[in-house]
Amino acid sequence: MDEGRISRHGSGARLWLAGGWLLLALLAAIFAPLIAPQDPLAQDLMFERLPPFWMSGAEPGFWLGTDSLGRDLLSRLIFGARIAFIVAFAAALAACLVGSTLGLIAGYFGGWADRIISRIVDVWMAFPPVLFAILLVAVLGTGLSSVIIAIAVIDWTRFCRVIRAETMGQARMDYVENARIAGYGRIGIMLREVLPNVVPSIVALLSLEMGIAVIVEAILSFVNLSISTDDPTWGGIIAEGRLSIHQAWWVLVFPLVTLILTVLSFSQFGEGLKARFDPVLR
């Protein structure tokens, strides 16, 4: 049980730090209109490329400075969090539902079900994911829902593979055989006995996937294939920041840092939750 002890010690601080950042970002996203100091879309050429608050030439009320059109960077990041979180939750949940269901079926029933599902996963994973996403959005048209669909369609395989392997391991355990002898039906065993034992992995993966969804959304925004350009998105801000990197580095750096912190927090939060949830590690 040494392993469990180590992961428990590690998981405490990790869980709180990651959870804290995510909660902060989530609250900012929900209450964006109340929190944001400026209108994220308001342009003001008098205030273009203002530096962040600690540098000379900063203006009060523009904490992280402005971009080349004079829009407040902090407000844009806060409003960008809305789209990031909507995409993260919706896309990851959709991918999780599809992938975990198929993974559970493949892992538990084996045989033909497993062969068919595994081959589909193999073929699916042969597509380069980002190109696949770009292609999908190009076909579906830009917009929030097509970004969500694209991410779910690409990333369900991640859930499917992991949950299949976990389920196979659990299905070999004696407690499953015992349940069979007692007379439980196979679907009942799958849902009542096996599923609770793979839930910790699903939770960890779900959180990881939310981070990945945030990245993919940023990539799509970066190449201008996500939401309409009016709405601020982290990827969109990064794309703008890249153009003015020599005049206003902060337009690139702050959204990047926000993005990295959020993605990292999602993955660490998931790992922490898994350690917390898993009765064997606890």
Binding site: G110, G111, M173, D174, Y175, E177, N178, R180, I181, A182, G183, Y184, E193, P196, N197, V199, P279, V280
Partner: protein, 296 residues
Amino acid sequence: MSVAVKPCLDIRSLSAVLANGQRVLRSVSLSVQPGEVRALVGESGAGKTMIGKAVLGVLPPSVRIVEGDMLLEGENLGRLQPKARRTLIGARTALIPQDPLTALNPSRRIGPQMTDRLVRILGWSGQRADVRIRQLLDEVQIRDPDRVLKCYPHELSGGMRQRVLIAAAFAAEPRLIVADEPTTALDVTVQKQILRLIAQLQREHGTAILFVTHDLGVVAKISQKVSVLYAGKVVEEAETAALFAAPQHLYTRALMAATPRYTDPFASLKPVDDAVLAGLASEIAAADQAWRRPHG
């Protein structure tokens, strides 16, 4: 024992093959009378566990029964529809498994895990199941049932888990329990207690047990009858006392000679004699030859 008594379990010339056609059970016949402990002894790979799994209907998909019948209290399992067979096996049998570490669901507390079967499968009320479980926990000498029922399996020691599993096996008053090497995964001191518990509950409940083991010492302590298995074939069957007094088959004698003795702990262990094994191999080859002729 009168002839009229219907055996609790009656296996008649059961043969099973792997996908590649290799025979793993060779016309096995054995019966367990009501309330009797029948030991099934043999070395690993002899097919002991396979017989238990066949009776309980949980053979791995790679093993196929090609011949023979299994009668559970006179009902021919092979003739029943799968659903009726599951119901019958669920109601009348139970398993005491080899590895108490994986035989309990790690994500569920002991209490619900034990009562669930009684409530869901046998349709008992929750309260009745709870009372029953506590009674059984008392019988397996678990003194703090409140704590144990709230525990997750990993919070209990191997011996405690095996006690819980024994209690669970007896809880629904099955007619037949398959005990699949129930003491092998435990350390020696605990083995003895567990064995005594199984014997005691078996006597009190009058449950028939098919006791699978590789340990002749265990056979002597717990069983009334014994079948010796080698390479999926019953090479000798007898009353336990008679077998130990006068083993008939060469393999049984060799197996007894190979058992380590506490009286002489420094004697080196004798493996089963090569000549005996060679004799067995030709015996089995001949049996397979004879078996293949009518079965193509």
